[in-house]
Structures are given as structure tokens and as C-alpha cells.
């Protein structure tokens, strides 16, 4: 997932800059011992921060996903009730004038409300994943200021093109180097990115079920669901500049020439049931592996995540 590539010094600085400045020590060798003594606590602090952020954004995802599920459920229920209204046995209520019409209007309004709520849950999920990606990209710890400066400081952005921000690849706590931390974090975040795209398709489909006559407000895969969505998706590498459309959803570790997304409006009840189940199943998220990663990292850092 290129989106998750950590910003290396070479990417942050143009090559011309590199040429014009003679590099004092040409090998990005392990830092001098004094520096590494100072670097390690700063790197540890930073990693603790980023991992606890990852853990809390995972919780945020879980809660947004579950509220999204319940809004989707309510939306589908209201929609089906409305669809069945004409054939519904109303008994004595039959005599009331316009009862069906009024009921339909009410169910329509309900659907509108749930649609808005569902969309906002989706937005929350996007936000959670973006935060995860940010945490994932901020795991390196760079030295700022010049080396002869008495005050040594560290930050998340590279100040020196020789500084890879990983302390020369040494282990930060016990065993794992910065790049191992990054690898695990990427593995974890990738699941959420992939799942988010599946959820997008579901949101799109669910928002498209309409209370009016069929095929009037059907959304398409290339439609933006809210202002700024495509910018967010680009951050997550889910937007293709080629097609000017979001990347089609797919399953983890499955290389396939995904066919174009075809939105089917007015799905039947069975399809809606499958949509809701798919929402719940979180096909791209391997919760077991995520727990494993968090407990591994927790052990490494001597903190309890989750």
C-alpha cells in the first residue's frame, strides 16, 4: 500500500538539494552512542503514543461501524415496511382516509433520517482510518537541530536527509526496530483501509434504496458521498487518478481484475439481508491477527493496548 510509505528523507528533499550540499558522513550508519542514548527515549515515547493512537482509533472504528450497522438496519426495515405497505392487512384501520399514504410518507421521512445517520457513521469510519494512517506514518523519530547544537530535539519530520529516523535500525524497546513496528502497523491499518472500501460500496447501495419510484436517485460508484470524500480517499490510496474514481473494493490479498462496480438499485429483501450481514462480517478485518499484533506490541513496550 503506497499510501502508507513512510516519508523518507529522499522523498522529502529534491535531488538537486542533495547534490548541492556535500554530505559530511556518507553512510547512514548507526548514530554515535551519545546520540543514540538520547534518541531511544524520544523514539520510545513517540512509539507509545502512536500505538496507543492506533488502539484508540480502532475502538473508534468499532463503534462507528456498529452504529452504522444499526442505522443501516433501521433504514432497511423502514424501507421494507414501506414497500409492503400496499399489501399490508390493516383491518379496521382500512377505513381511515389516506392511511396508507400517510404511513408511507412517515416511513419515507424515517428513511431520510437514517440515511443521514448512516452517512455520518461512514464519515466517522473514514476519519478513524485516516487517523490510523497518520499514526502509522509518524513512527519514525528524527533529530532536529544541528548536531553541534547543545539542545538535542526530536520530531516526526526529517530535518537531515541522512537521518532515517530509525536510529540506524536498532531495536527501540526490546526486539523490534522502527521498521518492524511500521511493518506491523501497516499490516493492521491495511485491513481497515480495505474494509472501508467494502463499507463504501454498502453505504452507496443502502443510500440508493429510495422511497420514491425506482431509479430516480441511484448513486454511482464515481459519485462523491460527501464534500471532500475523494480527498480523504486519496490519502488512503483508495482513489484512482486514472479513472478519477475510487478504486473498486476487493478482498484482502486477492489479486483480481476487479470488474467495474455496478450499482443495483432497488435490491430485493434477500440482497438487503446479505448487505447487512456483509457489513457485520467485516470480511477484510482479521480481528484475531489485530489482537495478536496489539498484544505483541504491548508486550514489547510494556504497556497494555486495547
Amino acid at each position: 500500500m503506497e499510501a502508507l510509505e513512510s516519508p523518507t528523507p529522499s522523498s522529502s528533499y529534491s535531488s538537486s538539494y542533495l547534490k548541492s550540499q556535500p554530505i559530511p558522513s556518507s553512510t547512514p550508519s548507526p548514530l554515535p552512542s551519545l546520540m543514540s542514548r538520547l534518541w531511544r527515549p524520544a523514539a520510545q515515547r513517540n512509539l507509545r503514543n502512536q500505538w496507543s493512537k492506533l488502539a484508540s482509533h480502532r475502538q473508534q472504528w468499532a463503534s462507528s461501524s456498529s452504529s452504522g450497522k444499526s442505522h443501516a438496519n433501521s433504514l432497511v426495515n423502514a424501507h421494507l415496511s414501506q414497500r409492503y405497505m400496499p399489501s399490508l392487512e390493516l383491518g379496521v384501520l382500512n377505513d381511515m382516509p389516506d392511511i396508507r399514504k400517510k404511513a408511507c410518507r412517515k416511513l419515507c421521512k424515517q428513511q431520510e433520517r437514517y440515511r443521514i445517520k448512516l452517512l455520518s457513521s461512514y464519515k466517522d469510519m473514514v476519519a478513524a482510518v485516516i487517523q490510523m494512517v497518520n499514526a502509522c506514518r509518524s513512527m519514525r523519530c528524527y533529530q532536529t537541530g544541528t548536531s553541534n547544537c547543545t539542545l538535542v530535539q526530536f520530531s516526526n519530520s526529517a530535518g537531515d536527509q541522512n537521518d532515517t529516523g530509525d536510529g540506524g535500525g536498532v531495536s527501540v524497546f526490546v526486539f523490534l526496530s522502527i521498521s518492524s513496528h511500521e511493518k506491523l502497523a501497516k499490516q493492521l491499518v491495511r485491513m481497515f483501509i480495505m474494509e472501508l472500501n467494502v463499507k463504501r460500496l454498502l453505504v452507496l447501495e443502502l443510500l440508493s434504496i429510495s422511497c420514491e419510484v425506482p431509479q430516480d436517485i441511484g448513486l454511482h460508484w464515481g459519485d462523491q458521498l460527501y464534500q471532500g470524500e475523494f480527498d480523504n480517499l486519496s490519502t488512503l490510496n483508495l482513489f484512482s487518478e486514472e479513472t478519477c474514481e475510487p478504486v473498486p473494493p476487493k478482498l484482502m490479498d486477492r489479486k483480481s481484475d476487479t470488474p467495474a462496480v455496478q450499482c443495483k438499485n432497488q435490491p430485493n429483501p434477500e440482497v438487503l439481508q446479505v448487505y447487512l450481514t456483509t457489513w457485520l462480517a467485516e470480511v477484510n478485518i482479521n480481528a484475531h491477527r489485530i489482537d495478536e499484533i496489539f498484544s505483541l506490541i504491548g508486550e514489547e513496550m510494556h504497556v497494555s493496548l486495547s
Binding site: V198, P267, E270, Q273, T278
Partner: protein, 198 residues
């Protein structure tokens, strides 16, 4: 003899505690059963690729959704099994209470004769009342445990051939607990603790 009856009442209180725990487990078992049966009911719909609508553009989606659902079903069935083990623990402990009580009368130093066994002092229960009560309560829970165990195993069998009406009937059977009639239980406790009611 009165002291003996007091001891028995103590045992009935223990049984009551066990029965309260039974009720908690009952709630848990029913919600586990509901979850499992709703997954089983969905399986057929999930198996048909034509039900995936727009999701069909995701290669392999059907297998993955099915796999995930089977996984949660398995976890669910496993936790039901664990709940059943706890039910069994309750049956076992009621049985033990009854067995110990019988032992006390037969093996105790002051062997009461038949008349003493039947004797009632005031509203207090006789020793026979106590023993019989414990036996009945044990029988009820033992039979109910066996019924639940067979319902749970029937549920696993239905996974392969789901039928909505069967699932519904099984659930009703679990909820009803036909082997533990509430009035009868109340009646037993009323006799044992008659003095507290008066």
C-alpha cells in the same frame, strides 16, 4: 429434630442460590441460541450468489462472508457448550446437596425412626418433606438439563439443513423449561419455609 429441620432449610437456601444462577444461565443460553439460529437462518440466503447484488463485483465475497459467518456460528456453538457445562455444574451441586442430606439421616448418630421422619412441629416441615423436596428439585433440573443438551445438539445438526420452523420450535422449548414447572417449585419452597410466610 428441630435443629435438623433448620439444617435442611439451610440446604434449601443453597438450592435457591443455585436456581438463581440457573436463571442467569438460562438468559445467557437463550441469547446465544438466538444468535446462533439467526446465523443458521441466514446461511441459505448467503449461499446464493444472486443475492449479493452490487457486492458481486468483489471477487470471492460470497465465500468470505460465508466463512466469517460460519466462524461466528462456531464460536457461538462453543460458548453454548460452555454454558451447558455450567448448567451441568448446577445439577451436580443440587444432587450433592440431596445426597448429603440423605446421608445425614441414614448415617447420623441419632437415627430417627419412621415416626420422627414424618413428624411435623407446628408449621415446620417434616424431615421427609425436606428430603422429598430436594429429590424433586434435583429431578426437575436433571431432566431439564438433559432436554437442553439435546436441543443444543439438535441446533448443530440443523446447521446443515436449516428450517425456520424447527429453529423456532427449539427455541420455544428452551424458553419454556417444561421440566421445571414454576408453581410446583414454589409449592415445595412454601412447605419448607411455611413459618416465614405466616
Amino acid at each position: 429434630m428441630e435443629a435438623m429441620v433448620k439444617k435442611y432449610q439451610q440446604k434449601f437456601r443453597k438450592v435457591r442460590d443455585e436456581m438463581n444462577r440457573w436463571d442467569e444461565l438460562q438468559c445467557r443460553l437463550i441469547s446465544q441460541f438466538r444468535n446462533a439460529s439467526s446465523i443458521i437462518e441466514r446461511l441459505q440466503v448467503l449461499q446464493d450468489p444472486s443475492n449479493y447484488g452490487a457486492l458481486n463485483c468483489i471477487d470471492g465475497i460470497r465465500d468470505e462472508v460465508l466463512r466469517k459467518q460460519m466462524e461466528s456460528l462456531e464460536i457461538n456453538l462453543l460458548s453454548m457448550k460452555r454454558t451447558m457445562e455450567e448448567f451441568h455444574g448446577i445439577v451436580f451441586s443440587i444432587e450433592k446437596i440431596h445426597r448429603d442430606s440423605k446421608q445425614q439421616i441414614k448415617g447420623g448418630s441419632s437415627k430417627p425412626n419412621a415416626k420422627q421422619l414424618q413428624q411435623r412441629v407446628g408449621v415446620k416441615p417434616s424431615l421427609v418433606d425436606c428430603l422429598d423436596g430436594l429429590l424433586v428439585l434435583y429431578d426437575m433440573h436433571h431432566s431439564e438439563y438433559r432436554l437442553k443438551a439435546s436441543v443444543v445438539s439438535a441446533l448443530s445438526a440443523l446447521t446443515l439443513k436449516p428450517s425456520a420452523s424447527d429453529l423456532c420450535a427449539l427455541q420455544q422449548l428452551l424458553v419454556d423449561q417444561p421440566n421445571i414447572p414454576k408453581e410446583e417449585v414454589q409449592f415445595i419452597f412454601d412447605i419448607i419455609f411455611a413459618e416465614e410466610i405466616c
